[in-house]
Symmetry: C2
Subunit: 302 residues, 2 copies
């Protein structure tokens, strides 16, 4: 069994590659929930949804979020009714949030709900939230502290980021199944998601960090940067500020003591690094590229 | 100002006629909330919505419910996720229920929410729920007691109805504005909605019944039956069982002490009746017909 830590978009591509390479039932995917948010009273788990939709073959790979072929009639009407509608929610996508919110209000845990929804969509991989406790990624900007979605979607990642806070992380516990999966995994893969705001929250759950630090199998991370630049999103700017740079060594420093190898792109500079370097072509332009990168990552963890 | 008591579909047509006849700002419409229901965790007020959509020019007059041109992507996906989806909810319609549910969970009253939503849709008539208290229309059938929507939508009104219970009515209070409107009205019109399950719940709010019984202006009801038959729905079967028949006198008996005149169709039998009979053509096939019937009703109340 392969244990995977992931955020949304970038991570989803590698997850798709892994699911094409090995039996998806052999994958246990731990998702970031620090970006979870409530809009219109509906509880939304963007990274869990992206991973679930991707593995169900339903995701809109062109847009990088949501369901392919989705429509936006409800959102348009919510706007007409005077609601803030900067967070995109398709009509089919809304069904997920409506179902999740109802189940939460009935007292079900996010982990149970996640499992129920992925099964309903025919996904055989195990998908786990990092925690059933609420951990909120807060971004400190010149305009003040805002939620991750306000930063990422409403402000289009443009504000300068002074710091990222993970409210609630310190006292959080891993969701049921996460620690067992870390113990039972044959290898651990950290996806090319943002090390600060996507993987950071997962590793901020103390027992998850401890379990990975104490692993008896190899853990390999795939860098989200190519030539020091993020493919999408603000990872490069965040690393420059918070890790002091964007070289592979800076990426590796985000995972200090937690990884045995880092997969980096051919465009990235050589130089000393605390862990083994695996150099390959990391841009995932199609499923074949994702599958190749997944294969390289698994070899790096062997 | 004209005070109107109404249910959904049939009532909406007369409301539309009234709004075409006089300045809609001069209308105060008290809606049945006994059919309100919760589906997928969303709070739905079918009659309030039908009246609001109708006055906003947005209702699907062919189907008799929902918004014209609405789509059903979210409902289809909810079904795919394993949810019961026999209650039709369009995507645009969902926006109403999502907004209402959020506002309710924030502690707002149904009356405040109803007012906010009708204003957002540009409706100048005042729309009031009969009560902010929960009153639930329960239908006693051979299969046991079920909610009105289970009876009306899921079972397509086919089960025999032994009795109708209005749970919570006894201790309910009128929504803010209802009693003032009854006192200040120049006339009261009861729409051709089901006397048992649409108008009955409104009149089951004790203070509303008392205020209308003590009215100083005329109250006219429009019969929902034509030749003793309901245009749509189970009103005829219900009246046969619960009022002992379907003649104008039986309809009038549902409103004993509460009306001064009953508008009936030319197809209905003559015969003794406790209130003044106004005979006209009552089938509302188009807006012109609705307007004519509204005019007749207002003359009946003059």
């Amino acid at each position: 069994m392969i244990l995977v830590l992931t955020g949304g978009t970038g991570g989803a591509k590698l997850v798709e590659g892994l699911a094409a390479l090995i039996d998806p039932a052999e994958l246990t995917i731990v998702c970031n929930t620090g970006d979870d948010c409530v809009f219109h009273g509906l509880y939304i788990s963007p990274d869990i949804d992206t991973i679930t939709y991707t593995l169900a073959g339903l995701s809109d790979t062109e847009k990088g979020w949501g369901l392919k072929g989705d429509t936006f009639a409800a959102l348009e009407q919510l706007r007409r009714l005077g609601n803030d509608a900067w967070f995109n929610l398709g009509d089919k996508d809304l069904a997920t949030h409506i179902a999740r919110t109802r189940l939460r209000n009935e007292g079900r845990k996010l982990s149970e709900i996640t499992d129920q929804l992925r099964r309903a969509l025919g996904v055989s991989a195990t998908i786990l939230p990092m925690s059933d406790d609420r951990i909120e990624t807060r971004v400190e900007t010149p305009q003040g502290e805002i939620s991750f979605q306000e930063f990422f979607v409403k402000e289009r990642s443009t504000p300068e980021v002074f710091a990222v806070h993970l409210a609630g992380a310190e006292k959080s516990r891993p969701a049921p199944g996460v620690l067992d999966a870390i113990r039972e995994a044959d290898a651990i893969v950290i996806c090319p998601s943002n090390p600060v705001t996507s993987i950071g929250p997962i590793l901020a759950v103390p027992a998850i960090r401890d379990a990975i630090a104490g692993r008896r199998v190899r853990c390999v991370a795939v860098s989200p940067l190519i030539g020091g630049r993020a493919v999408k999103g603000p990872a490069d700017r965040m690393l420059a500020r918070m890790a002091g740079g964007t070289t592979p060594a800076h990426v590796a420093s985000c995972y200090e003591g937690l990884i045995d190898a880092l997969v980096v792109d051919e465009a990235d500079p050589a130089g000393p690094m605390a862990v083994r370097r695996v150099v390959t072509h990391t841009l995932m332009t199609d499923l074949a590229a994702s599958r190749r990168l997944a294969e390289t990552a698994l070899r790096g963890a062997a």
